[in-house]
């Protein structure tokens, strides 16, 4: 067995052991879905940062910069902007009534079980799209490390992920995310200077990249409107994706959230910036790759010594796993807690947990089946990630963020916002102008209908808005976890 295979097997065994250990720490649904809601800033921020850094970062972004140039890199500034907004504007009100899931928040704020189920279904569909991108990237890595066909690698990767996530729940995800974040940081910190050295230093890197691909350091490779709207998609998507929002519930208080968010924004943005530099080096070292998504694995194999190359490949695997486990957990909770739990309110918590585990199994399996059937194959990973981000932002940003500040917002308005945002986003992706990211028309439709429908429907009851209104701070003390 090669060093590379040995390291990966050891890595997977450790991750699985953590999942098993966390099963013993999990006593109830609150532990399983939000780690008891008691995370401090270190674990909370680490799991947020690790969840943010995905195949989109380690395979997708480098692929886009390799293919289209540096202008895409400026989108990274959406990360600190989005996290700051989350900590300063959204979190103080959003966390006043602690829930286990985003759809449960929607039910509380919009006094409707139907709104909750709709939100859960949207999360389930969008998660399948997102997990697909990560599984494609997992197939690339598995193929390189173990030499097996990509299809087998995708299946194997998914089995490991489902196993530890379904067994250990959020606690397993949090602890494994912490380890995976360390692997990512070590991998990227080791790879960046070696990649720069390989091309002769930072100045020769600029000169050679400019010679090989003169358009790299210009603003011409992306239409400005597309670049701007993609930035909006990433900003709003970072704020309004359920796997991020549920981490606000998992952290113990606002102090932990503010510090955790700082850690997440440093780690997520810092990793991106260093990976951009590796992307530039890969343009020089491998100028004719068939797909930009292969750039990072090529750096790991051909530039770094075997052990460090294995660490970088493990870092890519870590990025994928730490994101997919969180997505699976969110989707599992949507199915068990928000769909099944509302259809069968008499079900015991134990039964709901088992349904949740089944949900994780389903959500993990469907993307692989879709890819093996040819759906989504051949797309650059980053563009699938962007579509997910746009779908989430179009559906949830307005009802969640505006909903905690505008007390006139009604359940009918929330339904109109989610449905119109999702529909317009999908329609624009299929038939709209490719020079504008679908998040912009999706968001405009969502906000417009949210406003109009809320104003023409009966005002919400005080009981629904009290926990979130400006004078509702007192009700924060009575936060619960239904």
């Amino acid at each position: 067995m090669s060093i590379q295979v040995g390291l990966f097997v050891l890595y997977f065994v450790i991750i699985f052991a953590i999942g098993w250990y966390c099963l013993r720490l999990t006593r109830d649904e609150t532990d399983y879905w939000i780690a008891g809601g008691k995370l401090g800033w270190l674990l909370g921020g680490a799991t947020m940062g690790a969840t943010h850094a995905s195949a989109g970062t380690f395979v997708g972004t480098i692929g886009v910069i390799y293919t289209s140039g540096w202008s895409f890199a400026w989108i990274v500034l959406s990360i600190p902007a989005a996290y700051w907004f989350m900590a300063a504007v959204l979190a103080p009100r959003f966390t006043r009534a602690k829930k286990l899931t985003l759809p449960a928040f929607m039910e509380e704020r919009y006094y409707s079980t139907g709104v909750r189920r709709l939100a859960a279904v949207i999360i389930l569909v969008a998660t399948v799209v997102y997990v697909q991108a990560q599984v494609i990237a997992g197939g690339i890595i598995g193929n390189i490390v173990f030499g097996v066909p990509r299809e087998w690698a995708m299946v194997g990767f998914t089995v490991v992920l489902i196993a530890y996530t379904a067994i250990g729940g959020m606690l397993a995800v949090v602890y494994t995310d912490f380890i995976q974040l360390i692997v990512m940081i070590v991998g990227v910190l080791a790879a960046t200077p070696l990649a720069i050295r390989q091309v002769g230093g930072i100045e020769p890197l600029f000169a050679t990249v400019t010679a090989v691909k003169p358009e790299t350091f210009t603003w011409e490779s992306f239409p400005p409107a597309l670049l701007f709207t993609m930035g909006i998609a990433f900003t709003l998507g970072t704020i309004a994706t359920p796997e991020k929002l549920v981490r606000l519930y998992a952290m113990k208080d606002m102090r932990a959230i503010r510090r955790g968010v700082l850690l997440a924004m440093i780690v997520a943005t810092g990793l991106n910036l260093l990976i951009f530099v590796i992307a530039l080096a890969s343009i020089v070292l491998f100028p004719a790759l068939p797909s930009g998504d292969l750039a990072m694995p090529m750096v790991a194999r051909a530039v770094l010594p075997p052990v460090l190359g294995s660490v970088l490949l493990a870092a890519i695997a870590a990025a994928i796993m730490s994101t997919v486990d969180s997505l699976m957990l969110v989707a599992g909770s949507a199915l068990a807690h928000d769909v099944y739990g509302t259809l069968r309110p008499e079900a015991t918590p134990r039964r709901r947990l088992w349904i949740g585990r089944m949900g994780i199994l389903v959500v993990g399996t469907v993307p692989v089946v879709l890819i093996l059937s040819g759906v989504g194959e051949g797309e650059l990973v980053q563009f699938i990630v962007l579509l997910f981000t746009a779908l989430m932002a179009s559906s949830f940003f307005v009802p969640v963020v505006v909903g905690v500040y505008w007390m006139r917002a009604t359940k009918e308005g929330a339904v109109a916002a989610m449905v119109s945002g999702l529909t317009v986003c999908f329609a624009w992706e299929a038939w709209g102008d490719p020079g504008i990211d679908p998040v912009l028309p999706g968001l405009i439709a969502s906000a417009t209908l949210f406003w109009i429908v809320s104003l023409i429907t009966p005002a919400p009851p005080l009981s629904a808005t009290a926990p979130f209104s400006s004078d509702g701070a007192a009700s924060a003390a009575s936060a619960n976890h239904p």
Partner: protein, 35 residues
């Protein structure tokens, strides 16, 4: 040479804005928690 300077600006400018944003966030965080 001009090209290299432009490249340097586009490249290092991003790092500079990132560092400034983090610094501003830390100041904001301590300001919010000042009591």
């Amino acid at each position: 040479m001009t090209a290299i300077l432009e490249v340097g600006f586009v490249f290092w400018g991003l790092f500079a804005v990132f560092a400034a944003t983090i610094a501003a966030y830390v100041v904001w965080m301590f300001w919010v928690e000042r009591d």
